[in-house]
């Protein structure tokens, strides 16, 4: 495992109070015409891995005016297998094209071998928080950061599987990763709330607050907000990003901001997409929540 690295600083910066939205194909035209309404746009990296074509060319055009946060869903940083070269090469090509303010992916696995051949699981698959998982996650994060020559951020995922055994809780695991690789973190508030709800945590608010306090706040480079949907027959909440942020989500966000201070914030909405205007409305709610949290934080500080 590596020691903490001095990674290359971000080439473009965004302010701590920046609010961005996810850019999905239905909104390409809106983003071209009205991207200045947001501080940054987030895209799923793999959707822009093509050599050319509309998506790639549009993103290049948009990135000239609006900062882009590249959020991967496929690196599988927690895989025992090393992230394949082919994947890294495509990601680096995209990074070179759009000069993103942040490159990130998730704390999960996706690559594994079946019959000796390596395959991709196509989803954010959960890992147990063991020393063995830590070893592989650190290796893959190191590999990605070295390949790109820059720091990446790692997001806590929504996990529908609860492992009986582990050497760390999630916050401890992420903190270890930060110490050993120098990577940043993305705090996904919805994932945290969904996990608490699905695990039937007795006091979800305390669980959430403890988690937020446990991670190194200086490592948090972005906060993610999204909606989730209950699946009745399985009594589960699914993190499908298909609806607005819930009231509880906004409250948790405000509490997190009060605890850790201002952080760039992303509204994620991937399915059942609303109009561009409605999406920007969610961004406005985030700005209002920031203002409320900071005024509260300032009053605490003055006391």
């Amino acid at each position: 495992m590596s020691d903490r690295q001095d990674t290359v600083p971000l080439t473009r910066m965004f302010t701590n109070t920046a609010v961005g939205v996810g850019l999905r194909p239905d909104h390409y035209q809106d983003a071209l015409e009205n991207a200045s309404a947001v501080d940054f746009l987030e895209v799923h990296s793999e959707n822009f891995f093509a050599e050319a074509g509309m998506a790639v060319e549009l993103l290049e055009e948009i990135s000239a005016e609006t900062p882009i946060s590249l959020h991967g869903t496929s690196a599988g940083l927690g895989s025992v297998e090393a992230v394949p070269d082919d994947y890294l090469e495509k990601l680096r090509r995209l990074v070179d094209r759009v000069d993103p303010i942040l490159v990130s992916d998730h704390l999960c696995f996706t690559w594994a071998r079946i019959g000796g051949r390596i395959f991709h699981g196509g989803d954010l698959l959960p890992i147990p928080y063991t020393k063995e998982s830590l070893h592989h996650a650190v290796n893959n994060i190191d590999r990605l950061q070295s390949y790109l020559g820059r720091q990446i951020a790692v997001e806590n995922v929504c996990a529908y599987i609860d492992f009986d055994q582990g050497d760390f809780d999630e916050a401890e695991f992420l903190s270890e990763i930060v110490v050993r690789t120098g990577c940043g973190l993305i705090l996904d508030i919805n994932n945290l709330m969904v996990n608490a709800r699905n695990a039937r945590v007795g006091e979800p608010e305390s669980y959430f607050d403890h988690y937020v306090r446990s991670v190194d706040s200086s490592a948090i480079l972005e906060i993610h907000l999204a909606g989730s949907t209950p699946v009745e027959d399985q009594d589960l909440l699914i993190d499908d990003h298909a609806c607005p942020v819930s009231g509880a989500g906004w409250e948790s966000y405000q509490r997190a901001l009060t605890e850790i201070g201002p952080k760039p914030t992303l509204i994620e909405w991937d399915n059942n997409l609303p109009s561009w205007g409605a999406l920007l409305g969610e961004a406005t709610k985030a700005r209002k929540a920031q203002r409320r949290a900071f005024s509260r934080r300032r009053s605490y500080e003055s006391v």
């Binding site: 093509a50 594994a112 079946i114 599987i161 399985q234």
Partner: protein
């Protein structure tokens, strides 16, 4: 079970190699991956989906996912082998032209994701009097495809919400009854992939040009007689199929 075994077994479960995963809620992931696979194949093969209808299409895609699995991190890469695979699927007994339609769909969607060269108008001054000393440059982003089925008409008809009401549908039906096929030229207009039916002569000419044969050789004598070369060239340049000319020695 160690970490490596867990990860391998989980992927095996996602791809239907085993139905027993000892972890509760593992099904959530399997359903999620299957839904993503359906969406990915639907994006690359829209005509196939329209031809089969959503339920049958979903079943075929899940069969594909379980057989081929997912090999890259990019969902838009998923399904590159779908047209060849589907030949051996039982659904092709009912829809024998399905593989060719899938191939055309695949070419069209790939054209949209590939570099498409700009026309270099100045280079056409290289065309001199001796056509055996110059050749035309084809766009690297185009595809040619011969089928024993009227694939372009089928493809065209199924872009409509009501395929049966289109002229292309009637033409496809007539051609199938007559056992006639079509040759497809796939290119890009702006960002959109396009397919059009072209003659056997055009396929021959474009194939020769792709092999960098001279204009004189590509346009065999009888073809030149049939064609208005200048008009043909203008049309091909307008579509971005031919992007330049150069001398050869």
């Amino acid at each position: 079970m160690n970490l490596s075994e867990y990860q391998c077994q989980f992927l095996g479960f996602l791809f239907g190699e085993t139905n027993s995963m000892q972890l509760p809620n593992a099904d959530v992931y399997r359903f999620g991956v299957e839904a993503k696979a359906v969406r990915a194949i639907e994006n690359s093969y829209p005509t196939v989906k329209t031809l089969l209808g959503p339920t049958v299409f979903q079943g075929v895609v899940v069969d594909y996912l379980r057989t081929i699995k997912k090999q890259s991190g990019d969902w838009s890469d998923f399904g590159w082998g779908f047209p060849s695979w589907i030949i051996s699927h039982r659904i092709s007994d009912q829809v024998p032209y399905l593989s060719d339609v899938a191939r055309l769909d695949g070419y069209v969607s790939r054209a949209e994701r590939r570099p498409f060269d700009e026309v270099n108008f100045e280079s056409f001054s290289n065309i001199g009097k001796d056509l055996s000393e110059c050749t035309l440059i084809l766009n690297r982003g185009l595809e040619l495809f011969r089928s024993t089925y009227p694939i372009v008409s089928i493809w065209e008809a199924h872009k409509s919400a009501e395929p049966r009401d289109t002229l292309s549908f009637a033409q496809a039906k007539r051609m199938i009854a007559q056992g006639r096929g079509q040759n497809a030229l796939i290119y890009r207009t702006g960002w959109r992939g396009m397919a059009e039916s072209i003659s056997e002569n055009d396929v021959a000419v474009l194939s020769h040009l792709r092999e960098q044969q001279s204009i004189a050789r590509a346009f065999a004598k009888n073809v030149l007689l049939e064609k208005n070369f200048a008009g043909w060239l203008q049309d091909m340049i307008a579509k971005g199929v031919i992007v330049g000319a150069r001398t050869i020695h």
